[in-house]
């Protein structure tokens, strides 16, 4: 896909970002942030994943079809999560 194979400087930058992310999530886990612990951990994990997808997997400069495929995959994952939780989360109300 990326016909032009440029220098690999960019990869080390991404690696650094991922390392910072890992340290951050590790440190954040030890602070008692009440209900915010999980959302923060997930947010950091999502940013790390987005970095890997866009740069390491070259989705940033690939054609529209690949981008749509990635988004579709995540959308279907969300269908599975949200509609299953519609049941389990609403059980105490009924």
């Amino acid at each position: 896909m990326s016909a032009h194979a440029g220098a690999i400087k960019g990869y080390f930058a991404v690696f650094a970002v991922l390392m910072v992310g890992t340290m951050l999530t590790y440190y954040a886990a030890f602070q008692d942030l009440g209900i915010w612990n999980t959302p923060i951990a997930l947010f950091i994990a999502v940013t790390k994943a987005v970095c890997v997808v866009l740069i390491f997997m070259h989705v940033k400069d690939s054609n529209r079809l690949t981008k749509v495929t990635v988004v579709a995959g995540l959308f279907w994952l969300m269908i599975l999560f949200f509609l299953t939780m519609v049941d389990f989360a609403s059980r105490p109300w009924s």
Binding site: M1, S2, A5, I8, Y11, F12, V14, F15, L18, M19, T22, T25, Y26, Y27, A29, F30, Q31, D32, L33, G34, N37, T38, A41, L42, I44, A45, K48, A49, V52, V53, I55, F56, M57, S62, N63, L65, T66, T69, V70, A72, G73, L74, W76, L77, L80, F81, T84, M85, F88, A89
Partner: protein
């Protein structure tokens, strides 16, 4: 040099990388099934997941995350090398990626064996009861030694606020167990509950999910390393160059995907309860 049924070489390259992405979407849904089970059971057994997760060696987990992100870097460099026909660099970084992958699996073996010793493996022999009577055959000393990073950091910076709680928790849990044991009266209960039934409810579900998710992830790593041996063989034959690098690139996509799965597994399995808030 393209296959007979494609009109142009670009059409073949586009097709194979698009095919790889569709395969990765299928993998997302495959792991998605495990993650939905995790989501549901964490919602149901909120406390048990926290306590059970506290037994994991978070130092090994962190080390493994660094190793795997490193292998993602080396893999990206290898793909780049193939695109620029740098044969020696390609082979070097493929080997590096394999080495890091093998390290990751080695660490997993250490973690798994430790789980087997402490009987925290789901199945007939399962026993996990931090508050109640300790499980037979599990010596106490192990639980006292906090993992490596805590000891190192505590040594260097003295008692760091969040960091030493994990150690105390380990100690506190055991003292609590003795206290608890004395206090619980011996009720005149007819049949005797097995150690598995006396274990904390929901903890066996956590460990089942832990082994299912990390096991399936490790299986994907093993398949990945196997594929790399095949790619390495052909790389040494000089098959991959700027004209033909799709197998390397597609394998790169697969490897980065396996890394992303671990990026989510690490916080969700290892880090959910390190702050030991007011839960217990």
């Amino acid at each position: 040099m393209h296959k007979h049924h494609f009109d142009t070489f670009d059409q073949q390259k586009d097709a194979s990388s698009f095919g790889m992405w569709v395969f990765l979407v299928q993998e997302i849904m495959f792991f998605g099934g495990l993650f939905v089970a995790y989501l549901v059971y964490r919602h149901q057994y909120y406390m048990a997941f926290g306590t059970s997760s506290a037994t994991l060696r978070v130092d090994l987990g962190l080390f493994n995350t660094i190793v795997l992100i490193g292998s993602s870097l080396t893999m990206a460099i290898a793909v780049n090398a193939a695109q620029r026909s740098l044969q020696k660099r390609l082979i070097a970084f493929l080997l590096a990626t394999m080495a890091l992958g093998a390290t990751f699996l080695g660490v997993k073996v250490i973690e798994y064996t430790e789980k087997f010793e402490k009987r925290e493996v789901p199945g007939a022999n399962f026993c996990f009861n931090p508050q109640g009577a300790p499980c037979k055959g599990v010596s106490h000393e192990e639980e006292k030694t906090p993992d490596l990073i805590q000891r190192y950091l505590n040594g260097r910076f003295g008692k760091l606020p969040g960091l030493d709680k994990a150690a105390e928790h380990g100690a506190e849990a055991t003292t609590h167990a003795e206290a608890g044991e004395a206090a619980a009266p011996e009720p005149g209960v007819p049949g005797e509950a097995t150690e598995r039934q006396r274990s904390m409810p929901g903890s066996e579900v956590y460990f089942s999910l832990y082994f299912a998710m990390t096991g399936m992830h490790a299986l994907h790593m093993i398949v990945g390393i196997g594929l790399m041996v095949w790619l390495l063989y052909w790389a040494t034959k000089g098959l991959y160059s700027a004209e033909y690098y799709t197998p390397i690139e597609n394998f790169g996509l697969y490897w980065h995907f396996v890394d992303i799965v671990w990026i989510f597994l690490f916080p969700l399995l290892y880090l959910i309860n390190r702050h030991i808030g007011g839960h217990h």
